[in-house]
Amino acid sequence: MASSIRVRAQANGKTTEVQALIQHPMDSGFVKDSSGKLIPPHHIETVRFEHAGKLVLMANWGPAVSKDPYIKFAFEGGAKGDPLVVTWVDNLGKTDTLTAKIG
C-alpha cells in the first residue's frame, strides 16, 4: 500500500525546507455520515520529524487541523541525501512512518 505520508524536503545551503502532506480523514467526532450516525473522532495527535536522529519538529494537532493535513517548516542543517524520518500517531493509536530523502 502506498504511504500515507508525502514529503518534499529541500536543502538550500544552510537550511532545509520541509513540506509534508498526510492522507488522513481528521474526523472531529461531531460529523454525521449519510445514515445519520456520528463518525467517531479520528484525527492525528502528533507528528514527529527527525533528522539525523534529532527531533527537528514536533507537531501536536487537534481535530481542527484540516483533512489530509499539510505542514511546512524549515530547520538549520540537512544535506542532500540525508534521511528525514516522519512519524504520525492518531487518537486510535494508528501510526505510519516514512523515511524521506532530502533533495
Binding site: M26, G62, S66, I71, K72, F73, F75, E76
Partner: protein, 160 residues
C-alpha cells in the same frame, strides 16, 4: 482515495455540506477516549473551550502582544474547511508556536515544539467553524507573545 469517501453520496447539497461544517466543530466533548493520548500530546490543552484556559493549560502563563510575530491568514476564507495559516517571528530563541481559534468550540488548533535550530516559521491548514480571530502564540526566551487577526468564514453557495 480514502475508503470513507464511498460513504458520501457524490451529489452534496449545499445545506448539508454547510451543516456538516458547522457540526464539524459544533459541540465540545469526545465520544469516548478509552486509550491514552499519543506520547507528548497536550491532551488537557486540546480540551479547553476558551482562549485563556487553553493558554494556561499549554504554558501556565499569559501572553503579551508582540509586533514581532507575522501571522498570515486570508481575510475571507475560501472555505472554512481549509484555511491556510502561517506564523513566523523575528523574536530570538523561539521554542514553540501555537495556533488558537476561539471561534471553534475547542480553542486550540495546533501546537508546535521547535527544537534549537528549527526556524521560527510554520505553515499549516486549519478548519474554522465560523468567523473568528486566529491567535498565534509564540514562546521565545521563556516568555509568551501573541498576535491575532480575524478571518471571515462564509457559507458556500456552489464552490465556484
Amino acid at each position: 482515495m480514502h475508503p470513507r469517501a464511498d460513504h458520501h453520496p457524490p451529489a452534496i447539497h449545499t445545506r448539508r455540506a454547510a451543516t456538516r461544517l458547522l457540526a464539524l466543530l459544533g459541540v465540545a466533548g469526545f465520544v469516548g477516549t478509552a486509550r491514552a493520548a499519543a506520547p507528548g500530546w497536550p491532551e488537557e490543552a486540546f480540551k479547553q473551550t476558551s482562549e485563556a484556559d487553553a493558554i494556561k493549560a499549554l504554558y501556565g502563563k499569559s501572553a503579551a502582544t508582540s509586533d514581532k510575530i507575522t501571522l498570515e491568514v486570508p481575510e475571507i476564507a475560501e472555505n472554512g474547511a481549509v484555511v491556510p495559516v502561517s506564523v513566523s517571528s523575528s523574536l530570538a530563541d523561539v521554542t514553540a508556536i501555537s495556533i488558537l481559534v476561539p471561534g471553534n468550540p475547542l480553542t486550540l488548533a495546533a501546537s508546535y515544539t521547535l527544537p534549537a535550530g528549527t526556524l521560527p516559521s510554520i505553515g499549516c491548514r486549519l478548519k474554522m467553524a465560523k468567523t473568528s480571530n486566529v491567535i498565534a502564540l509564540v514562546e521565545a526566551g521563556g516568555k509568551l507573545y501573541s498576535t491575532s487577526k480575524e478571518v471571515k468564514v462564509t457559507l458556500g453557495g456552489c464552490g465556484g
